[in-house]
């Protein structure tokens, strides 16, 4: 089997507001035999915001991020949907436009760097399936999630747009369901499976758009009686977990839907303890999950 070694791009969220994602990624990756070399010199991807103010700057900054992975001769692994799409967009544009690549490299040369285009941009979700493999994952399960109804929440940028992402059919993706099934859990279809958490218009349309989406999404999972939602994106997580109470307030109902990061869910099935996975760090209580999981052993 190919060596599972990656240049690890953490993104700002896992370093800032979602340390439990950062920690659980390391724990689970190690267990799955993935080696992560953290890109400590990497910067923020711009999250689409910088792109609007300064398109060329954002391309060069992300070209530097990609060049850092190339220095190590490794593919770049992200744990955030938006980082994935921003980095893949940069790569796509540079790889398809020789003039732009030349212009970007002239800038990078100032810092002694060069973008070549030799590293792929991949996401933890995809590497669990294509790198580790579902058969191996299944074998490693010690605590099947059979008592859990789990609502997948993909988050936009891991499925759309197809020309940048293209890992699976954006109309009917299956990767998260495949992982849930490998872990012995019950994936629950729901209205908001492919919807948006609202994060990216938080600062401009919190009341008009963002919190309404957050409420609709978490309610959809509740309607299907899911025990929790799982997402591969820390931005979706922050929005659906940390802002869920605000969303409840605006619409005047009680939702209380726990949201797990993808590696946390995997970690639980692999027998790791909920505390080391950081389940207690969530705003929406995960107590029911912890109780159920400890009772299932």
């Amino acid at each position: 089997m190919a060596e599972l070694k990656y240049a690890f791009y953490t993104g700002c969220s896992a370093k800032g507001v979602a340390p439990e994602l950062y920690n659980s990624t390391y724990l689970v990756a190690e267990k799955l035999g993935m080696e992560l070399i953290e890109l400590e010199a990497a910067t923020c991807c711009g999250a689409g915001a910088v792109q609007e103010k300064d398109e060329f700057l954002s391309l060069t900054i992300n070209a530097r991020n990609l060049a850092l992975a190339e220095e190590l001769g490794l593919d770049l692994l992200t744990i955030c949907n938006t980082c994935t799409v921003m980095l893949r967009e940069t790569k796509f544009k540079l790889d398809n436009d020789p003039e732009l690549k030349k212009a970007v490299n002239e800038v990078l040369a100032e810092a002694g760097l060069e973008y070549k285009g030799t590293s792929e941009v991949t996401h933890f979700l995809w590497e669990v399936i294509d790198g580790v493999g579902l058969d191996k994952l299944k074998e490693m399960v010690v605590r099947p999630l059979k008592d859990f109804n789990i609502a997948p929440f993909y988050g936009c940028h891991i499925i759309r747009p197809v020309y940048l992402i293209g890992y699976e059919d954006p109309d009917n993706p299956k990767s998260i369901e495949m992982i849930i099934e490998a872990l012995g859990g019950n994936p629950k279809d729901h209205e908001a499976r492919l919807a948006c958490c609202g994060f990216h218009s938080f600062w401009s349309a919190e009341d008009e758009v963002t919190l309404r989406l957050t409420a609709m999404d978490t309610e959809a999972a509740k309607e299907e009686k899911a025990d929790f939602m799982v997402t591969p994106c820390p931005l979706c997580h922050t929005q659906l977990d940390a802002m869920q109470e605000e969303a409840e307030e605006r619409i005047g109902t009680n939702i209380g839907m726990p949201i797990l990061h993808l590696p946390q869910m995997i970690g639980l099935a692999l027998g790791m303890n909920p505390e080391e996975l950081g389940l207690q760090k969530h705003v929406i209580s995960t107590e029911n999950i912890i109780n159920k999981i400890t009772a299932s052993v």
């Binding site: 800032g16 010199a41 398109e55 810092a111 109309d171 990216h200 349309a205 207690q280 760090k281």
Partner: protein, 354 residues
């Protein structure tokens, strides 16, 4: 599979209190489109079904509907491919989402048309046509910038699952904004500020949640999302100050000064002291959950090799004016296998009038 089921949304406001679904069994025929399947039902089983159509060739935009949850054109989607794609024996057809259903698969397009009118979706020339009697001319790069947004057939497939519109019916809608962009970015157009003000008035640009659903649904590769982003870029260039513009400034400053975004100091910088007060409970909540580091409230740390970033920043700023960034044009689906469907895109223009 010899047969499949067509599950159709039925609603006649003159006699039904509630919409309901009716399922029809049909033989699977090679090459049959969903529109052809609807005709078959109408001709052989139930003449009462209402739906719109005209060209049957993905040109007129009349036959848009929601098929297995996604807005698209019924005359473009093939039954056998859908059955395979969704791994099912049932195709569900409903009117486009986010819009009021009128009768069966027919939805209220007038509501969208009213929105459309607000952006003046017609060319307002900057100058009189050339005196020698030739047409208005345009630089190929300028044309490239609007080419992708010019092919809209007003089918409203993009409207169907637009997340911003789902949350708020005042949102202008993706194709409306794509049209606003198409003219605002046209080098020959004379009403740029007027158009920008029409969309900025509603703050509609900023409501888009960047979900890329419109672009994914669009059967004509129009890319409404890209248009909205480009409109925001133009608005910033024209000097309009919007929350998005402020947000972008903060991001850029953080990258320049430390490399990573400081999420904990975002509120005070985005919204000032009042904003910080409003957000304080949130910050405290995050702190007590052990999610955030106290250092972040005082600026946080720099990434390694940050001096490289500073050099790149200066040089990129110096160079940006001379760089022509091309917009990828999507050119249809080129390959499909079990888990990968990727639309082909490149930087070639699709042809056109240059």
């Amino acid at each position: 599979m010899e047969h499949f089921y067509l599950k159709v949304f039925r609603y006649d406001p003159t006699k039904d209190e509630q919409p309901y679904y009716k399922t029809y069994k049909l033989p699977v025929e090679k090459g049959m489109t969903v529109l052809a399947a609807l005709f078959k039902v109408k001709e052989t089983q139930d003449p009462s079904i209402s739906f719109r159509y005209n060209c049957r060739a993905a040109i007129c935009g009349s036959c848009s509907m929601k098929i297995n949850g996604h807005g698209t054109l019924a005359c473009k989607e093939q039954v056998t491919k859908l059955l395979e794609k969704y791994n099912t024996d049932t195709i569900v057809v409903e009117p486009i989402g986010n819009v009021k259903p009128l009768k069966d698969l027919i939805f209220d397009f007038d509501w969208l048309l009213e929105k459309f009118k607000q952006v003046k979706p017609w060319f307002i020339p900057k100058e009189p046509p050339p005196a020698d009697g030739t047409e208005y001319r345009q630089d190929p790069y300028d044309h490239h910038k609007i080419d992708f947004a010019s092919d809209c057939i007003l089918c409203a497939s993009c409207v169907s699952e637009c997340n911003a519109l789902k949350a708020n019916k005042d949102y202008l809608s993706p194709f409306v904004l794509a049209k606003a962009y198409r003219f605002a970015a046209d080098s020959r157009d004379g009403a740029r500020r007027e158009r920008l003000e029409a969309v900025l008035d509603h703050f509609n640009l900023e409501w888009c949640v960047r979900c890329w659903q419109c672009t994914t649904n669009c059967p004509k590769e129009v890319q409404p999302y890209e248009s909205i982003i480009r409109l925001r870029i133009i608005a910033a260039e024209e000097g309009y100050k919007t929350p998005g513009e402020r947000h972008a400034e903060i991001f850029e400053k953080d990258i320049k000064e430390r490399g990573l975004l400081n999420e904990m100091l975002l509120p005070i910088r985005q919204e000032g002291v009042l904003g910080a007060v409003k957000r304080a409970p949130f910050g405290i909540k995050m702190f007590f959950k052990g999610k955030v580091n106290i250092a972040d409230f005082f600026g946080g740390h720099k990434v390694k090799r940050h001096e490289e970033v500073e050099k790149i920043y200066e040089k990129a700023k110096e160079k940006e004016k001379e760089v022509k960034i091309r917009i990828p044009q999507i050119l249809g689906v080129v390959y499909e296998d079990k888990r990968k469907t990727r639309k082909r895109a490149n930087f070639l223009d699709k042809g056109g009038n240059e």
